[in-house]
Subunit: 392 residues, 2 copies
């Protein structure tokens, strides 16, 4: 188990964490509470005691209502049969993988925000220091049924994230996810695919080569379920909370009205992570979910890389936001503007005529004409005023 145990984590902790990730479905908050209360090793022993003394539970370590704990134990006990954490770790090791656990300094600390629903362990292929790899990472996610438009935008955003030195996180699916991973690799950046099934099952199969490249080029494949686990629908939904939690922000590029990407956005919002949505044509069903997020105020409208980077780390107060257009050379005062507009296109006019046309007082007009002449915005010829020659 060389690769699987390179961290400074005791072997029994590693095995216990691996066991818990096999025993329970992702996101089970009761398991999280039990493991937090007893520690992973003692929690496994406690569960074995429970199984032996059924139906009575072997003591209540977490102060839960009896029925809730008993029902949770009843969920976990059937999987004690055939449990073999060492076998799971060997399967990972054969692929050069590494089991990361919360006790490992390479564990992405952002997962702590998930509280009792945080993963028990991450089964990782590729780069193992996820704490480093995922610092400031941005999730670029979206529909499998993507359009050329969405793919173009996803590629632009993912490349921009990498150019900013950040990692692109996505779900390894067809469509927007695949484009995000591919564009990150194309930009020479690093990218992490969080999978719903085991990391030994590259799903979907059509993305196996892409996922291999993700792993080979400094990134990682990550799953909270052990090797051999199938990617079920509920695991996909739970996987989305991991994508949301390990990223400092999430942008949804395209999503149908009902889309898994919206569940990721919901998790990100619940974790107080910024969420962006890319608008698109209202005639495109692939943008309907993004528009829904915008309508419901769950996401900020993101249209380009600077807006995405601003979303995931707001600029310092002192910095210009870059969101303001070019300077307008015209005077800001509405009276001065009206005066300039009242100048005829050709020829000159007297100040009293200008006053009537602009609806301004004669003295005010005279005052402005003097100032505007200094600025080169009006020209004078005797007592007649005109537009200056040449470009203004």
């Amino acid at each position: 188990m060389s690769a699987a145990s390179t961290g400074d984590v005791p072997e029994d902790v590693l095995l216990a964490r691996a066991a818990w990730s096999r025993l329970v479905e992702p996101g089970d908050p009761v398991a999280g509470a039990v493991v937090a209360a007893l520690g992973p090793v003692d929690a496994v022993d406690w569960l074995r005691d429970c199984a032996r003394s059924e139906p009575a539970v072997g003591g209540d370590p977490v102060g839960l209502p009896d029925r809730r704990l008993a029902s949770a134990v009843a969920r976990w006990v059937p999987r004690l049969e055939g449990l073999d954490a060492e076998r799971d770790l060997r399967a990972l090791d054969r692929r050069g993988g590494c089991l990361l656990v919360p006790e490992d300094p390479r564990w992405p600390s952002s997962l702590g925000d998930l509280g009792p629903t945080a993963p028990h362990a991450l089964w990782v292929l590729g780069a193992t220091d996820l704490h480093d790899l995922l610092r400031g990472a941005v999730a670029v996610i979206g529909a499998r049924a993507s359009t050329a438009y969405g793919e173009h935008v996803a590629a632009t955003l993912a490349a921009g994230v990498c150019d900013a030195g950040r990692t692109v996180v996505s779900g390894g699916a067809y469509g927007i996810d695949a484009v995000a991973h591919r564009a990150a690799l194309g930009a020479g950046g690093r990218t992490v695919a969080v999978l719903a099934g085991g990391v030994d099952r590259l799903y979907p199969a059509g993305n196996a080569r892409l996922l291999g490249a993700v792993m080979d080029q400094g990134g990682a494949l990550v799953s909270e379920v052990p090797p051999g686990s199938v990617p079920s629908r509920s695991r996909f939904l739970q996987r989305n909370r991991v994508i949301a939690a390990v990223s400092s922000g999430t942008v949804v590029v395209e999503a149908a009205w009902r889309s898994g990407a919206l569940s990721t956005a919901g998790h990100a919002a619940a974790l107080l992570r910024p969420v962006g949505a890319v608008p698109g044509p209202v005639t495109s069903v692939s943008s309907a979910g993004c528009h829904r997020l915008l309508r419901e105020g769950q996401a900020v409208c993101v249209t380009d890389v600077p807006e995405l980077l601003e979303l995931v780390s707001p600029p310092d107060a002192g910095e210009p936001s870059g969101a303001v257009g070019p300077d307008d050379p015209r005077p800001r005062d509405p009276a001065a503007r009206r005066l300039l507009e009242s100048l005829p296109v050709r020829g000159g006019v007297a100040a009293d005529r200008l006053a009537r046309t602009a609806g301004l007082g004669l003295e005010e007009v005279r005052g402005w004409l003097g100032r505007l002449e200094v600025e080169g915005l009006v020209a004078r010829s005797g007592d007649r005023w005109s537009r200056p020659c040449g470009p203004q």
Copy 2:
């Protein structure tokens, strides 16, 4: 002055209002305050006194700082020269128009929300009962430089507004405005064009025929400046406040980053009217202004007619919002869902196997299987469970 005096408004009030709309530029709050304090007729007399006794002002009717009032009077006095309200009314009358003033019951009362910047009068061609015509009206506005996409959406929204029995308000410009007016007419609805110049100057000239149709088919052309007035830039910007005020809501279909449509949206927001923005491709500069409104939280994302109608008049609390997708036939309980997903595609399995696969307790699995069998979502054969035959 038959057409111009069909309301129950005294002749001198009508003439005084007409005079004020000639004397001051749109949106001058000092003029609004003076007219409100003295009444329109006495306010004209007061201004003539001011002009005779310059530089001293003929008494302060509004309690403004001296300098502010003096400066305002200095703006207005030059236009007393050549003032001829009767001539302006005759010019309107020759075109069969009507001068509406706040004293007329046909005046759109929504303009009162503009306070001292409300128009002094509206010069109207076409339908004269603007109070009726503009009740629940919706402004559909946008860029002159529109795209085929924006025009498609504008036409759909404008027709939908008319189908709901509401009037479409817009600015009579090329692009989105013209499409909105045209689609309203095509839907057999009524539409109002609020112009920045005099109603005798159909601007832009290329829309003259369309604007004629607006007037002829139950709608109206409206301006707060007298016949013969040119549509200057500042008048365009002030015109936008009238569009915003007479409408119960405003939707921006396409707009560049800097666009007059954004000024209308700003006025609508300031008047606490709902503002919508239609998203579009982030690759289209014609949608950049809409995305800006969405990003800055100034507008709600509007993608179709129901969303627009919901924006301008929120549905009753008891009504379904229509924004929810079709019912999902699957059970809402996550355990039941996981159980159903764990059923093999072909063949049957025993309950204990299902418990391990789904990560659920055996008793829970047995409980759910019974209920799901009743609902026809699982099938039983002996002690083995499978997916039911045929469509679920």
